[in-house]
């Protein structure tokens, strides 16, 4: 990805002085196989989107399983949904939206060359992401206490099909949470680069494509929240 650009930060050592006027104007972050910084950025964004499409299909498989089993056991699905903590899920939805806007602001700050703005917004993004995971921890702990984790200790009073709902709940939110952890690590690396003043109006590819990943993880949650937490809400508790 564009992160590798520093490998070629030293220009073109084989170019004789004066012979490569065009080369001399190259931005130090431009890799030699790109015509321009614009093309390099477009290629980075396209490459990230290709990766995100594979992520769409990855999560898509889980949503597919969700659709198949929900079609088969609609009642167990609605009842299982009512065991989830809507307040915690809702707070987490809002927390992720906050993290997305600070992420978008961080990219904007890179584009206008505000180092301070990038650092502040990236730290906020990381904090919101961490809040999400902390809330998720308490949610999971609550599920263990209430015997809602599939397996031998699952509440025997509940229909067996609800175990499938909770299995998918834990797999989908668990993999989503794993993506959040990866996102936070990614943002810590980007924060380090921003701290050093690596990004500016001419070069902000890494922060932009990392932002795309962050927003994607937010979008997955935008679908998980209504599909897991809210589907049985109208049936009452």
């Amino acid at each position: 990805m564009a992160d590798a650009s520093h490998l070629h930060a030293h220009g073109h050592p084989s170019t004789p002085l004066g012979a490569g006027a065009a080369h001399a104007e190259h931005h130090p972050r431009q890799q030699h196989h790109f015509y321009s910084m614009d093309q390099q950025l477009e290629a980075s964004i396209l490459g990230m989107w290709i990766f995100l499409v594979t992520e769409i299909m990855f999560f898509g498989g889980l949503f597919m399983a969700y659709i198949v089993y929900r079609t088969a056991y609609p009642d167990a699905w609605a009842a299982g949904s009512n065991h989830l903590n809507v307040l915690m899920g809702g707070i987490n939805t809002l927390v992720l939206i906050c993290s997305s806007v600070t992420m978008a602001l961080a990219v904007r700050c890179a584009q206008i060359g505000s180092r301070r703005g990038q650092v502040v917004n990236l730290i906020l993004t990381i904090l919101f992401g961490t809040v999400f995971l902390v809330v998720k921890y308490f949610e999971y702990a609550e599920k263990f206490e209430h015997h809602l984790v599939p397996g031998p200790h699952f509440d025997p009073a509940l229909p067996a099909q609800q175990q499938i709902f909770f299995a998918l709940y834990f797999i989908m939110t668990g993999i989503h949470a794993a993506h959040m952890v990866v996102g936070i690590v990614l943002m810590l690396i980007i924060l380090g680069m921003a701290w050093k003043g690596r990004f500016g109006p001419d070069y902000y590819g890494p922060i932009e494509v990392s932002g795309l990943y962050w927003h994607f993880v937010d979008i997955v949650w935008i679908f998980l929240f209504p599909l897991l937490y809210l589907l049985g809400a109208h049936l009452g508790h």
């Binding site: 904007r108 979008i219 809400a233």
Partner: protein, 99 residues
């Protein structure tokens, strides 16, 4: 660099819309619309996701090629959902064992 820089009011307007739609999806879910509950919830989710993709992810200002890739990704997802459910939803049409 000729790339588009998003305006701060735009970003906060999208933020407000996402916040409002999250509240909306909660209160809508409390009402009983019969089979329409899920389509309504999904409609709101798709609208929220579109706002994120179009403005926060800036696909609006990306190249046509990137836009095609994004749409193709969603299209392939729908192919997976469509073909799989065309199997599961029609298995009961013929009364043979092992369906």
């Amino acid at each position: 660099m000729s790339a588009h820089v998003a305006k701060v009011p735009t970003l906060f307007a999208i933020f407000g819309a996402l916040f409002a739609l999250t509240i909306l999806t909660y209160f809508v879910a409390l009402q009983d619309f019969g089979w329409l509950n899920t389509p309504i919830a999904l409609g709101i989710a798709v609208l929220k996701a579109s706002l994120v993709v179009w403005f926060f992810m800036g696909v609006r200002w990306n190249t046509p090629l990137t836009k095609v890739v994004v749409v193709a990704g969603l299209f392939w997802l729908l192919i997976m959902f469509g073909l799989t459910m065309s199997d599961y939803l029609t298995r009961s049409w013929i009364g043979v064992p092992g369906r």
